[in-house]
Symmetry: C2
Subunit: 732 residues, 2 copies
């Protein structure tokens, strides 16, 4: 081959390689997958091939629960709150395709297609056997720069209502297509590619993330959807998060798919080597696995104690409706508990779900200041809920429920094994007493505690949120969030703390050579439409106050007194927790009393938590103003469901819970909604590297004079004869 | 029968009946039992007869753990911290019987006989195989009104040291004989008996409690041990606590066994009827049991993952020494975790235990103001730890450990099944990540969370404390307290809240007709001698502070900054928690660094808690001044172990953690002890009646840059083949 031909061959080869690289990321298969599922995955059930040793097998007694069978059954909605079926999704598409808005536009996206819940009053009246309530879909569409909210009537085949957003700021939740579509945009920029290759990263090793850009009041942010793209190297590890290409950020117009700006600083920061960051078992096995434990399993020889009819879960003394939602993740509706005295189901909560999240990173520098995620409204908390890993995400005795969501053109797709439901027994005690025989009473009575867990795990890029609703037979509901997954880390030139001058602040912890775990917060705000024995409730703050005794009243100087204050309006119920000004937070039904005359109620019991300390006028905090208090109470309003507003993406904070609550509407003896925020401050530590052990927090909804007495007085203890006979498989 | 004879017969009969009643309560059998065990019980193993359907049977694979076998083995101490053996207790008795103090006195009590721990330095140096360290016993004796502390050298057979209390106030922990001995004293008083019978209570139905009287600075309290006796009616229920004879209190001299005063008010308050308060399963079965659940069980087909050699527990990557203690209950010593990088055990905590409890009731009136219990120092938290109920207090896969304690004359007795140890799996997740396939990485990796629980349940009269130490493979230790048992309630004339005038305050909640659940607090203060990679540690408060950005620095106005402050002296570490001034609390080894230069450390992570709000000058609060802060750090001092002082009974608060800490000694780079208090405010509700569902709280000791990275990266997931094959017994 002569020199010229060799030269041509080389140029051609490099060209081919470059084309391959660009098309490979994301390649067709990934894109297809992304088109039809969360951050893609589930349709192809890739998780089963990811665990060749761990096939999804359920005990034969569970076969009736298998999701495919279940799914066939659910094609016709059985309950007014059942999610849209595949047929209904397709009908919505047909109806919309005839609507002028979509006919006239060749480019539109459906950002959300979900059930439009029937009016609460109708749902409350509806009983099994009644004719089905009219089915409607709520659609959020983005057409030529405008957001539209449409209600599609599936009975009449018409668009029943159609609104545009008006003066409210912000954009709808991104679609999967939005998120994936922007990733290749920076690669069109030679400047961007040069920044990457200058750092020694092969473009074939790039892994990029779409990072919501927040809102900071600059002109560039007006009238367009922005996103920032930052990239990592996946060379040598699947844990590319530990190999950031620090300082390179592309600002992208999401709709025009155009790079608006590239910032490239920190060129001297090396990409970390990523050694020993791969967390896959297949790799660990090669390195020598750490087998610490013999197997342990939750076993139920007589099967589970729950039934699931469509989306209605019945367990022990509980009944509730459960549905997957692309934005909230898991929605619990009409939770009712059976009163042992009357054998009747009594209402506790009409609706409960994670309304919004706020995850601000604590680094104000160029590449980091905008990282102030609102995972539900920006990314879709349910969209990111990957299929659960049987035997590991949930115990062997779990049942799995699928989600059915719409892609951006309205085509439905399956999110398999998105939620699991299982009974849990950790060896704990529901109640006990051992009597001392002074009185000749030989009594030791103990009852084991068994609970029902409803679990979803949403992996919003690096972080994994494990969202549990746990029901106890004593009437308690625990809402718990576990944080695991992978840290968002920052590249640094430092390899050891002894290189860091005293006055330098790293914004986090040096986790490994060239890697800083940046400090951040997590807030998860719950919507809790409590209906305690009916819809009209009051919120009562029971202050626990020191009372000084008067002279001669008592040998004691002080005691604590419970002072009840009924909240009249919303501002009475904007609450910040204080250890030294403690209160209980009751939702009571003022018109229903127990036999001895206490108003029936439930109380919200906070767990360990953290508050947002950001400046209230800081743009991220204004947008996430729902974290300004830990607890709020609003009057029920069907349109107030999303604590950061319906349109959170690039919102300016003009439609938050704070704004609604400041209207200070009456809330006494009304249908009221509680809002509670779980918070975490996270200063990373080396144990969080390269993957984080789960950290959890929770709060409880607990009966407080709801029952006449302990509702599980009559439950039996465990007896040896009820417990299973088990063998190891290899000895069976 | 003529009238005179009839009269004689009646008088005689009444006399006989009265004699029988008085001797019956407590009768011989009960007294014997009380002499040799907790609030009596265990020696006779009455719990097995209380559950005829629930015999204590363990799977055959557990037979090596059976406590009798175990007990035979442990007659020779294997570790310097092993508790005194039966032989050693008997030797102590012999040695003391030759000591002048006891020779000269016919009446003395041994309030405490426990191991005198060898010097920490010697224990730290000791290795298995080394010659045993000299064995000593620490004895607290009460002789003729004086308290004595003696050290008995079991090698030399001598009393090695002997101190009296000097100017320090208070008396030793009551013995079981003290508690039981005072109960019959009021019955000698016709005034007392008249008060009881006037309320229509048959003396045969009396059940009385010995209630520590606190200290209030009155002359009657000087130079004598006082106790108050209040009684209940056990007519028709074993749950006599729900039938208080309100307003009758006998003040008794504990040593002279003499009634000093009887108060009798509230004669118009009826004894509640107690209907449906009996919580025994045998009774519930008659009333129609509430069978909500199919059986569920924790199964380990290949046996547990721990071994117990004497008192040394080895599980997964943990090793620790575990011993029962009559005052603290459970003592964890020398907790060490194995570093996966070096395979070496590394020290975390030298000693941890519940040092003291404080339970003030919030009613300043005559019959209630003194109820301000300090359960460890007054009653003996371990003495009150009744045998655990297998299958219900602990799951089927539990191992049980006995306690051996001394009765008041020094005779040893067995407290069987006092502590259980088991592996727990609730279906939770140790760590997880699901990757999105944007990057073509098909990854879902999840590891189940299994923990080791060490449990004790102390029933201090009505209340049951479930005290757990939970170890996680990721290095975390969780200390958890569950509260169950029965409320201490107050009689009232009210049967319904509509009878209660608006201005009247009940000091609690009307739970049922004539029954008020009185508001109270619970505080449990832990002693935590942290030895993070060695004894010399520093306490670092990591403040999380809002930092405003300067003009032009960032589009952000604020972010959170971690500001580390090393505590120089004790007062730097007297900490009250604040949601809006958050901190992390690290114990670091300033001389040991990770590879990238972070000091190795553990952090204490508070859970939900409550603070004492009582007036600091209120006598109960002065005595329980250790609850003035949630967190304290003191330099290690062998004599400072009991947060309320060695002699808590009737103490004046002159020997508390507050007093020690106010000396403000240096604590930087020293052997330091952390003290943390878990608190609960308890406003009772009807669900707590007639027996309380468990309420729990906890705190964590969590590695923070202790390991180079996540120490359980290499553990395998669950595989179906590892899980057992199980059948229901009746189908097996």
């Amino acid at each position: 081959m002569e020199a010229k031909n060799l030269w041509r061959f080389l140029v051609l080869s490099i060209g081919v390689v470059l084309v391959l690289l660009v098309t490979r990321l994301p390649n067709k298969e990934a894109l297809d997958c992304n088109l039809y599922s969360g951050w893609c995955t589930s349709k192809n059930r890739f998780y089963s091939s990811a665990h060749p040793n761990n096939p999804i097998k359920k005990p034969s007694s569970f076969s009736t629960y298998h999701h495919n069978q279940h799914h066939d059954e659910s094609e016709i909605p059985e309950h007014p709150l059942d999610p849209l079926t595949i047929q209904e999704f397709n009908k919505v598409r047909t109806i919309l395709s005839n609507h002028p808005l979509f006919k006239s536009s060749s480019t539109y996206t459906l950002n959300s297609v979900v059930l439009e819940e029937p009016d609460k009053k109708l749902v409350l009246k509806w009983k099994k056997g009644d004719p089905p309530l009219p089915r409607k879909a709520s659609v959020v569409a983005y057409v030529k720069g405008d957001s539209h909210v449409l209600t599609v009537d599936l009975e009449t085949g018409q668009v029943a209502s159609h609104k545009t957003t008006g003066s409210v700021s912000g954009y709808p939740t991104m679609t999967m297509e939005d998120m994936v579509g922007v990733l290749e945009v920076p690669l069109k920029s030679t400047e961007f590619n040069r920044s990457i290759t200058k750092r020694g990263v092969n473009l074939a090793d790039l892994a990029c993330l779409p990072i919501s850009s927040g809102w900071y009041g600059t002109p560039v942010e007006e009238n367009r959807r922005l996103i920032k793209v930052q990239c990592y190297s996946k060379e040598g590890t699947v844990n590319f998060y530990m190999k950031p290409i620090e300082g390179v950020t592309a600002l992208v117009d999401m709709d025009r798919k155009e790079v608006l700006a590239i910032s490239d600083n920190g060129q001297n920061i090396p990409v970390a080597n990523g050694i020993n960051t791969d967390y896959r078992y297949s790799i660990q096995k090669l390195n020598g696995e750490l087998r610490l434990l013999n197997p342990i399993s939750l076993e139920q020889p007589k099967g589970p104690s729950f039934t699931i009819e469509g989306h209605l879960v019945k367990w022990a003394n509980w009944e509730f409706h459960l549905r997957p939602d692309p934005r909230a993740g898991t929605i619990i509706s009409q939770a009712k508990v059976r009163d042992p005295d009357t054998s009747k189901l009594r209402s506790v909560m009409y609706k409960g779900f994670t309304s919004e999240l706020f995850v601000p990173y604590m680094d104000p520098t160029e590449g980091w200041y905008f990282k102030t995620y609102m995972d539900a409204g920006e990314y879709g908390f349910g969209l990111q809920a990957m299929p659960l890993d049987p035997l590991n995400d949930c115990p062997r005795n779990a049942y799995y429920m699928d989600g059915v969501f719409a892609s951006s053109d309205g085509t439905p797709y399956l999110q398999p094994n998105m939620i699991c439901i299982f009974e849990s027994y950790a060896g704990d005690i529901a109640w006990r007493h051992a009597e001392c025989p002074i009185t000749d009473l030989k009594v030791t009575e103990v009852r084991p505690k068994v609970t029902l867990v409803v679990r979803m795990a949403a992996a919003v890029a690096n972080y994994d949120y494990i969202v549990d609703w746990e029901f106890q037979t004593d009437g308690l509901i625990r809402a718990k969030v576990g944080l695991s997954g992978i840290l968002m880390v920052k590249g640094t030139t430092n390899e050891n703390m002894d290189q860091v001058p005293n006055q330098e602040y790293l914004y986090g912890t040096l986790l490994s050579e060239n890697i800083i775990g940046v400090i951040h917060d997590h807030f998860i705000t719950y919507y809790l439409d409590m209906d305690v024995d009916g819809s009209d409730n009051s919120f009562v703050k029971v202050n626990i106050k020191k009372q000084e005794t008067s002279r001669g009243e008592s040998p004691r100087k002080s005691y604590l007194k419970a002072v009840k204050k009924v909240a009249k309006t919303e501002k009475d119920a904007q609450i910040r927790l204080q250890l030294y000004e403690p209160s209980e937070f009751h939702v009571v039904n003022p018109l229903k009393k127990t036999r001895v005359g206490n108003p029936v109620g439930y109380k919200l019991v906070p767990g360990a938590t953290a508050a947002s300390l950001l400046d209230p006028e800081d743009p991220p905090q204004k947008r996430a103003a729902f974290t300004n208090n830990q607890l709020w109470v609003t009057p029920y309003n069907k349109s107030e469901q999303w604590a950061g507003g319906l349109f959170v993406y690039q919102s300016k904070g003009d439609d938050t819970l704070q704004v609604w609550s400041n209207r200070d509407r009456p809330i006494e003896n009304k249908d009221i909604v509680l809002w509670y925020t779980i918070g975490f401050h996270h200063i990373p530590c080396q144990e969080d590297y390269p993957i984080m052990p789960t950290v959890s927090s929770s709060f409880d909804l607990k009966p407080a004079n709801f029952f006449e007495r302990n509702p599980i007085l009559g439950v039996p203890p465990n007896f040896e004869d009820d417990l299973p006979v088990c063998k190891a498989r290899d000895s069976a």
